[in-house]
C-alpha cells in the first residue's frame, strides 16, 4: 500500500464510453448504408417498371407510314407532350439514327447516351442510368422492336430525368441519417447514465479509501455490490491487520524497552550502592570506575532510547493516517507539562486554530510536541509560546512554532542539537535525544525543522509539514 504509480491511461468510464461509441458508430453507420442501398435499389426498380409501362404506351402511340414515324393524337401520357417535362420518348434505328422524338424532348440533347447498347434483339430490353454530354442524368429504358413488315428493326427509347428520383432519395437519406443520429445520441446519453450508475460503487470505493487515507474513517463501510464485496472485505481485513500489526509492533518494542531499561536501572542502582559504601571496608569501586560505568550506562541508555524511539514512531506515511486535532493534543501535552513543572509557573501562549488537523499518527505528533514543549519548559524562564499557522499558497503547509525566553541555542550549535544524543546542557534532566527524535519524525513526514532564535532571545523551533487538513472551510490563518 506504500508504492503508488501515477495513474496512466484513461478512466474505466472513458474506455467503456469510447468502446461503446465506436461500436455504435460502426453499427449505425452500416445500418444506414444498407438501408440507403436498399431504398435506392427499390426506387430504381420502381422507375424501371414505370419506364417499361411508358415504353408500352409509346408503342401504342406511334404509327409508321412509308418509313416515317409519327405520334397519334392521343399520347395518353401528358408528360410526353409538355416541353422539358422530364419524360422523353425517342424512336431510333439500331444504328442510333433518330427517327422520332416526343414533343417534350424537342430541346433536349441526348448526345453520348445511346452508345451503351448495340443492336437490341427483338423483344430485348435495356435499362440503365446515364449521364448525357450536357451533364443531365437520365434513366433510360430501351426496347428492341421488329416492325410489322417483319424486317425493319427499331429501338423504342424512353428517358426520364433522375431529378425527381434524386430528390426522393435525398429526402429519404436526410431523414434516415437524422433518425440514426438521434438514436445514436440517445443511446450514448443512456450509456453515460448507465455507466455512471454501474461504476458508482467503484467511485464510492475510491472515495471511501480516500476517507480512510485522510483519517476521516476507520474502514470501508456500507454495502457494496456482490462482485466488489470480496475486495472490500479483503481491504478491510488488510487495514485491520496493518493497524493491529502496528500496535503489536509498538507493544513488542515497548516491552523490549521495559526489559532493557529495567536491568539498566538495576545496574545504575547497584553502582550507586557501591559508590555509597566507598568509605567502608566494602569499597571495591573507585570514584573513577564508578564514573566510567555511569557514563557507559548513560550511553547505553541513550542508544537504547534513541533506537527504540525511532522504531516506535510510525513510518510517517499518511496512508492509514488519522486526523489528529493539533489544538487538543497540544492542550493535553501542555496540561501534563504544567503539572510536572508546577513549581515554576510561567506565562504560556497557545495560539492554534482548532480547525487544524494533523494527518498522521497521534503518537508522533505527541512525541514532537512533548519534546519541544518539554525543552521550552526546561530552558525557558517565565514565558513560552506555541503557535500553528497554515498557508495554502504558494504551497499548502502547516507551520508549528515553539519559542521560549531561555538562553537560546547559539548559532554555531543550532545544527548540532538536531543530531542524535546531542545535549548542550548536561545538567538538565532528559536523555538528550529529544530534538533528534523530533528531527527524525519530521523527516519521516517529509517535513522540515528549523532551529533559530525567538523574539525573546530564547530558542525558536519551527516545524513545517504538508500533511494537514483544515476541518472547516479552508481559510488560511493570518
Amino acid at each position: 500500500m506504500t508504492a503508488t504509480t501515477p495513474p496512466t491511461g484513461y478512466s474505466l468510464q472513458t474506455r467503456l464510453l469510447t468502446a461503446v461509441s465506436v461500436l455504435l458508430a460502426v453499427f449505425l453507420g452500416l445500418t444506414g448504408v444498407v438501408l440507403d442501398r436498399a431504398f435506392r435499389s427499390s426506387v430504381e426498380a420502381g422507375v424501371a417498371e414505370q419506364l417499361q409501362v411508358q415504353l408500352y404506351v409509346l408503342l401504342a402511340a406511334v404509327e409508321e407510314d412509308a418509313g416515317e414515324f409519327y405520334f397519334l393524337e392521343d399520347l395518353r401520357e401528358p408528360r410526353f407532350t409538355q416541353l422539358n417535362s422530364g419524360l422523353y420518348a425517342l424512336v431510333n434505328t439500331p444504328q442510333q439514327e433518330e427517327l422520332l422524338r416526343s414533343p417534350s424532348a424537342l430541346e433536349r440533347d441526348f448526345d453520348g447516351l445511346f452508345a451503351r447498347w448495340s443492336a437490341l434483339g427483338r423483344g430485348d430490353t435495356y435499362f440503365s442510368r446515364e449521364v448525357a454530354a450536357d451533364g443531365e442524368e437520365y434513366f433510360i429504358a430501351a426496347y428492341g422492336v421488329v416492325w410489322e413488315n417483319g424486317q425493319d428493326q427499331y429501338d423504342f427509347v424512353v428517358l426520364e430525368s433522375t431529378g425527381t428520383y434524386l430528390a426522393e432519395v435525398n429526402n429519404f437519406r436526410a431523414s434516415l441519417w437524422s433518425w440514426l443520429g438521434g438514436v445514436a445520441i440517445l443511446l450514448l446519453v443512456l450509456q453515460v447514465l448507465l455507466l455512471h450508475w454501474g461504476l458508482s460503487p467503484l467511485r464510492r470505493l475510491a472515495q471511501d479509501l480516500q476517507r480512510i487515507e485522510s483519517g476521516a474513517s476507520e474502514q470501508l463501510e456500507g454495502a457494496y455490490p456482490r462482485e466488489l464485496s470480496p475486495v472490500t472485505a479483503n481491504l478491510n481485513l488488510l487495514i485491520k491487520t496493518e493497524r493491529k500489526q502496528q500496535a503489536r509492533y509498538r507493544e513488542t518494542l515497548g516491552d523490549l524497552a521495559h526489559s532493557l531499561k529495567t536491568p539498566l536501572a538495576v545496574i545504575a542502582g547497584v553502582m550507586h550502592g557501591l559508590g555509597d559504601s566507598r568509605n567502608t571496608a566494602q569499597a571495591t569501586v573507585s570514584a573513577e570506575q564508578r564514573h566510567t560505568v555511569d557514563e557507559q550506562l548513560e550511553r547505553m541508555n541513550q542508544i537504547v532510547g534513541y533506537q527504540l524511539q525511532r522504531a516506535v514512531k510510525s513510518t510517517g506515511s499518511t496512508t492509514l493516517s488519522r486526523r489528529i486535532n493539533v489544538q487538543e493534543t497540544t492542550a493535553r501535552v501542555l496540561r501534563a507539562l504544567e503539572k510536572v513543572y508546577a513549581q515554576q509557573p510561567r506565562e504560556i501562549v497557545c495560539d492554534i486554530d482548532p480547525a487544524i488537523a494533523f494527518l498522521g499518527d497521534e503518537r508522533d505528533l505527541m512525541e514532537m510536541l512533548g519534546n519541544l514543549l518539554d525543552n521550552a519548559f526546561k530552558y525557558g524562564r517565565q514565558w513560552l509560546s506555541i503557535s500553528a499557522r497554515v498557508s495554502l499558497a504558494p504551497a499548502r503547509q502547516l507551520s508549528l512554532v515553539v519559542e521560549d525566553d531561555g538562553p537560546g541555542i547559539p548559532a554555531q550549535q543550532q545544527e548540532f542539537v538536531l543530531q542524535r544524543g546531542a545535549r548542550l546542557d548536561t545538567l538538565a534532566p532528559g536523555q538528550g535525544i529529544g530534538l533528534a527524535v523530533v528531527t527524525d519524525i519530521v523527516g519521516s513526514y517529509g517535513g522540515q525543522i528549523d532551529v533559530g532564535t525567538g523574539s525573546r532571545g530564547g530558542a525558536r523551533i519551527q516545524l513545517v509539514f504538508g500533511n494537514f487538513q483544515l476541518n472547516a472551510a479552508e481559510q488560511p490563518s493570518s
Binding site: 521495559h258 542502582g269 550502592g273 513549581q343 505527541m366
Partner: protein, 224 residues
C-alpha cells in the same frame, strides 16, 4: 513519610525500597497492579511511585482507580518506553510527575521532595514558620538561622508535622507515616520524640510550636 512503590521487577523494587528507606522514608512495596491497588486503598500514603508496565493491572489503570477512590497523594510514574504518549496518558490519569528508566536514586528523591512539598502547598524547598525553617531538600531544620541537631526520627516527625501545618495529626497517623508496619503502637516513643523536639526547637519555652490536642494528637502551630 510513608511511600508506596509498585514495580514488577523485583531487583529494581528492592533497590528502590532500600534506597528510599535509607533516605528516611517508610516504604511499602507491591509487585503488581492489584497488590498496589490493595495497599493504596487500605493504607494512607504521602506519595506513590508506580511503574507503568505492571502485570495484572497496568499502571495507568491503577492510577485512575486510586484517584477514583479520592486518594490525592502525589504519584510519580516510572516509564521504560519514555515516549510522550505514555507520559501524557499517565499524567492525564492523575499522576503528578514522571521519571524515565533507567534513573538515579537522586533523581527519584529530588522529584519526590518536590511532589511532597507541592502536595503540602509549598512552592519553595524552604518551609518557614516564624524562626523555625525546614529545608526538605537538605533534610535540615534551622532555628533562627542556626542548624538544629536532630536524630533521623526526630527529623521525620517534625517534617511530617510541618508539611501538614495547622492540622491535627493523630498518633496512629504519625506512627504509620514514620515507621514500618509492624511497629508496636503502644510504646511511648512518639511522646519522647515530641518532648525532645520541643526542647530543641523551643529552648526558651516561648514558641510552643507543637501543640498537644488531648485525645486527638499533635498540631504544628502556623503562628509559631
Amino acid at each position: 513519610m510513608r511511600l508506596l512503590v509498585v514495580e514488577d521487577q523485583s531487583l529494581l523494587r528492592q533497590q528502590l525500597a532500600q534506597g528510599l528507606t535509607r533516605h528516611g522514608y517508610v516504604v511499602d512495596d507491591a509487585a503488581d497492579g492489584r497488590a498496589g491497588l490493595y495497599f493504596a486503598t487500605e493504607y494512607s500514603y504521602d506519595a506513590a511511585i508506580i511503574d507503568l508496565g505492571l502485570p495484572l493491572l497496568d499502571g495507568i489503570s491503577l492510577i485512575r482507580q486510586i484517584r477514583a477512590q479520592g486518594r490525592m497523594f502525589p504519584i510519580l510514574i516510572l516509564t521504560a518506553r519514555g515516549d510522550w504518549q505514555d507520559k501524557v496518558e499517565g499524567l492525564d490519569a492523575g499522576a503528578d510527575d514522571y521519571v524515565v528508566k533507567p534513573f538515579q536514586l537522586e533523581e527519584i528523591l529530588a522529584r519526590l521532595n518536590a511532589l511532597l512539598r507541592r502536595a503540602a502547598g509549598f512552592a519553595k524547598p524552604l518551609i518557614e514558620f516564624g524562626p523555625i525553617a525546614l529545608d526538605i531538600t537538605a533534610k535540615r531544620v534551622t532555628l533562627a538561622g542556626q542548624g538544629v541537631d536532630l536524630t533521623a526520627y526526630e527529623y521525620k516527625l517534625i517534617e511530617y508535622l510541618m508539611l501538614h501545618p495547622g492540622q491535627v495529626i493523630s498518633k496512629t497517623e504519625l506512627t504509620e507515616h514514620l515507621y514500618a508496619q509492624d511497629y508496636d503502637r503502644d510504646s511511648n516513643v512518639l511522646e519522647v520524640f515530641v518532648r525532645r523536639l520541643r526542647q530543641k526547637l523551643d529552648p526558651d519555652d516561648t514558641l510552643h510550636p507543637i501543640e498537644t490536642i488531648r485525645g486527638q494528637g499533635y498540631r504544628f502551630r502556623t503562628d509559631a
